[in-house]
């Protein structure tokens, strides 16, 4: 049902019991069945009660209000509430202005003295209550701050503990690394000392060896033996001196001009016992100064001071032929 079927005056008349019975019954029904009407009725009732509480009713309305409306305990409670609320608001001008003014910093500051106006009416009791309220608020603020601070400190402590643990781990890790390095360094130092000792020992041995040993030509370990083609009737044998440090004999055997083999072999023969002591592999002839020669080397450890023969065999395919004997003498 729209607002057109009732108005504020009609609602007020209804509340005061001043409507004719049919109209009152219609409003009764609407008060239960129509949401808009029910809301409008409550608004109108509040305004009516406030008007009474503020002394704005007069004449018949005032009389009817007292006679009809105030008959109900529930409605008297509404009046009591309205009176208290009006008194409450009158004692607190900031209360009213807060509701009307738009939000602003000034208003926010006003809100700080929200119930301050009450102090004038119920001064001793409310001053005490407000004192308690302020003290409670101060305690609340202080408590909140302390709680916040406590939480912050706890977080800091936790973080510090984490940092401490991290640093402790790092310290332990570094300590281990240092110990490892120290160990490695110690091993290195020991190794170095050992090497130095060994070097000094070798130096000593070397000095001792140098002191005991006579100077020996570097080429002394190999003795060269150059043998020309054997000539008939030659009486003097070529001689090599094999010293203790001589290990090899490098022989260069000059070939006869008639000899023309692509390869040769050499054998060392003990003529006294007619025993071959050593044989070479296949050797290629070299040409030096228009002469051919072959070169072969053998160890000296089986040589004795006596005469020996180097027998040269020419090889061509599967055929071979002794092309010359080269006698020489060993002395020690």
């Amino acid at each position: 049902m729209g607002e057109g079927s009732y108005n504020k005056h009609g609602l007020t008349q209804y509340l005061l019991g001043m409507l004719p019975e049919p109209e009152a019954e219609r409003f009764d029904e609407l008060s239960l069945t129509d949401d808009e009407f029910a809301e409008a009725l409550k608004v109108a009732e509040n305004d009516l009660v406030d008007a009474y509480a503020q002394g704005e009713l007069a004449g018949e309305a005032m009389e009817q209000f007292k006679a009809h409306y105030l008959a109900s305990p529930l409605r008297r409670e509404k009046v009591k509430f309205s009176q208290a609320f009006q008194a409450f608001a009158e004692q607190n001008p900031g209360l009213a202005s807060e509701g009307i003014e738009a939000e602003s910093p000034q208003k926010a500051r006003k809100r700080g003295g929200w119930f301050s106006g009450l102090g004038a009416f119920f001064a001793p009791r409310h001053a005490f209550q407000w004192g308690l309220t302020v003290a409670a608020l101060a305690l609340l603020v202080a408590g909140s701050w302390l709680a916040f601070e406590n939480m912050r400190l706890r977080q800091q402590m936790t973080q510090a503990q984490v940092n401490r643990d991290t640093l402790l781990q790092r310290e332990q890790q570094l300590q281990k690394e240092i110990e490892t390095q120290r160990s490695a360094s110690s091993q290195t130092e020991q190794e170095l000392a050992r090497v130095r000792d060994e070097r000094e020992r070798l130096d000593q041995e070397l000095k001792q060896a140098r002191g005991e040993a006579k100077p020996t030509p570097v080429a002394g370990s190999i003795v060269a033996l150059i043998l020309a083609p054997p000539l008939r009737g030659a009486s003097q044998l070529p001689t090599i001196t094999v010293k203790p440090d001589t290990s090899q004999v490098a022989a260069s055997l000059q070939l006869e001009t008639a000899a023309d083999y692509p390869a040769y072999r050499v054998a060392l023969i003990d003529p006294a016992r007619k025993q071959t002591l050593w044989r070479s592999g296949t050797l290629k002839p070299r040409v030096r100064g228009g002469r051919k020669s072959i070169e072969a080397s053998f160890r000296t450890d089986f040589l004795k001071p006596q005469n020996y023969i180097l027998e040269v065999t020419g090889i061509s395919g599967s055929a071979s032929e002794v092309v010359g004997d080269y006698p020489f003498r060993v002395v020690k």
Partner: protein
């Protein structure tokens, strides 16, 4: 033709609202939606106000009796044919009211009786409980959300033209119509009144 004997109907006074019957009533009042009991509470409030406006001495009991009868009918019939649940409640409430009038034997006498029972309100009420009311009002107003506190204080403060201007300024500052503002203020006031009443009763 002989009629089958019907079981003796359970006397109305013996009927009690069972949880099942209450569920059925809540569902019926919700008309398919689920208001979580809000429609029931709103109807109960309206019925109390209705009986109170009729100057019944016990509006709460009559409101409960009305809803109980509706619930019993629902339990018996399974459903109720009516334009709306609220309209059926009104019809039942009228019967309950008429019965109440008959029981008291006098129509206006009830009002007179109430008036006799009530002491001189203007003289007595303010002395004892005004201070307590103010205490409770202070507590309950402090519990309101800032916006609701702003509305309730801005809407109901002032007299005559000042009050009207205040309300207009408040509606403008909130960006709502005067009608919407009045409904919002009324609902906040309802809550505030309930809070103050509970606070005052708790100290008794």
């Amino acid at each position: 033709m002989s009629e089958l004997p019907l079981p003796a109907p359970q006397h109305k006074k013996d009927w009690v609202l069972t949880p099942r019957a209450l569920d059925q009533l809540l569902s019926w009042l919700d008309e398919g939606s689920d208001s979580h009991g809000q429609r029931y509470l709103e109807m109960q409030r309206r019925l109390v106000s209705y009986f109170d406006r009729k100057n019944c001495a016990t509006p709460d009991e009559l409101a409960d009796e009305t809803l109980n009868r509706v619930a019993r009918r629902l339990e018996e019939e399974g459903t109720i044919e009516s334009d709306t649940p609220a309209r059926y409640c009104y019809i039942v409430a009228r019967f309950v009211f008429m019965e109440h009038l008959r029981e008291t034997h006098k129509g206006d006498a009830a009002l007179n009786e109430m008036q006799k029972k009530s002491p001189d309100y203007s003289a007595a009420a303010e002395v004892d409980s005004k201070e307590k009311f103010l205490d409770c009002l202070e507590q309950c107003t402090g519990k309101l959300e800032p916006t609701n506190r702003r509305i309730i204080t801005g809407y109901y403060v002032g007299k005559e033209r000042v009050k009207i201007e205040n309300r207009r300024a408040l509606a403008e500052s909130l960006g709502i119509t005067m009608n919407a503002l009045s409904i919002r203020a009324c609902r906040i006031r309802e809550k505030l009144e309930a809070c103050v009443r509970q606070c005052a009763d708790s100290d008794k």
